[in-house]
């Protein structure tokens, strides 16, 4: 199986740094920002993004959380039973905040749909933005990302994997089953 590496470690770090700047620019500063990762790999990405924002704006009181969307998915009776992960919100909650959802790969958009439903049950943010490391296309719902590390046009047969040092030992984005 062909494996092509499209982003290496320094590329990933630069993309996260750029997104941190973009988020602050878009939000006109750090006020009210809450960064929330979607398990599995959205969680370490969100932590890095929050760290990046904190370095640029030391005054920002880091508000970091994670949101498990399993129980809001629309495919629960199609796949084998999924395990449910941890949901943790920052102490201040999300009411009135600008929530930045963080995930590794944006694909069909169904995970983000589930995340938006889950967020609505937890509070009423002022705005919700979406940051992803990779947008690989093939959307099945009208959802788009506000901040993208890399746009990656792919074929349906290909598999995009984000590797992070926290979970996989190194940082990289690879495409498996790529064209020969």
């Amino acid at each position: 199986m062909a494996v092509a590496e499209v982003l290496d470690g320094p590329d990933v770090a630069r993309a996260i740094q750029r997104i941190a700047h973009e988020i602050l620019e878009r939000n006109h500063g750090p006020a009210g920002l809450v960064v929330i990762g979607i398990p599995t790999r959205g969680v370490p990405l969100a932590a890095r993004l929050a760290h990046g924002i904190g370095q640029i704006e030391p005054s920002w009181e880091q508000a970091l959380g994670q949101l498990d969307v399993t129980m809001y998915r629309d495919d629960l009776s199609r796949a084998p039973t999924r395990s449910v992960g941890l949901t943790q919100l920052p102490a201040g909650g999300i009411d009135g905040a600008t929530v930045v959802l963080v995930d590794d790969v944006l694909y069909s958009g169904r995970t983000i749909r589930a995340a938006l439903d889950a967020l609505a049950d937890l509070g009423r943010p002022k705005a919700v933005r979406l940051a992803v490391l990779v947008d690989r296309g093939h959307r099945e719902l009208p959802i788009r990302a506000d901040h993208v590390g890399k746009n990656l046009p792919t074929a349906l047969a290909e598999r995009v994997r984000v590797l992070l040092s926290e979970t996989d030992g190194r940082d990289a984005v690879v495409i498996e089953g790529a064209r020969p």
Partner: protein
Amino acid sequence: MKHLLSAADLSRDQAIGLLDLAEQMAATQGREIKKLPTLRGKTVVNLFFEDSTRTRISFETAAKRLSADVINFSPKGSSVSKGESLKDTVLTLGAMRTDGIVVRHSASGAPFQIAHSTWTDASVINAGDGTHQHPTQALLDAMTIRRQLVGAAAGQGGARRRERTADAAVLKGQGLDGLEVMIVGDVLHSRVARSGVDLFTTLGARVTLVAPATLLPVGVETWPARVCYDLDRALAATPPDALMMLRVQRERMSSAGGGFFPSPQEYSREYGLDARRLAALPAQAIVMHPGPMNRGLEIASEAADGRRSVIVEQVANGVAVRMAVLYSTLTGSKEGAL
């Protein structure tokens, strides 16, 4: 997992998986919006042939919190009072395309019969069958013990139990290894004791059963538990971390003591948890009771309402455990579940 019929069917990994899932479910119950859309469109029938308050309400709450539709069935006022058989009742439910059937029945094995029949392809959850099994009760007891005594036990010793209910992340993947659980009272009639012995030992705890010989079943020596006839001696020999008092099931006995013990006073003196025995418990010990309690018989009010009592928490954990069981049995593709 297609059905949950017996605590003995659960492997250690499955049991811990259910407890971890129950912790996540419990976390959602502290929110302002407690309802999750997870089982939207599924129908769950509570098929209760025996009276029950807390178990039925607990299952109903759990199913509703997961957005399933719930139908409550009781034999009074149904065709069962006209003599309809279990088979015909279940066939009727099957024809209505129910996804899950929660069964309580006075006959041991009734849920097993339904699950292994061709009457319905719904998932079957045992909510207590005769004197056989009550697996969700064992799970909620295990969840309560784990919350109270595991995770926090590592650091602080026994002194400050009430303040240190551990959170889900700390508990994840943990069993009940090395804990002493003592189950006291009417073991003979108790499905709670049977399920508990199975599950607690699967999770690594040691179990001691204490009862008069008349209230122990034939073959109890083959169970993975120590047996003792004397409560004071047992408390001294193996000081329990969790002490579970069983209800004296007088409805399953013929007369006052039914010949199982000479008098309620004598039972209470020999096997009841009174103030004296309560004071002698180890510092970290918790007092449990599956309810409903016979205050003054197997448990004194000092013990039931005291600082060590986790009886109300058991009820709260019941909802979370049943949400976890409903989630595990009712989601997942049919092909994957066999």
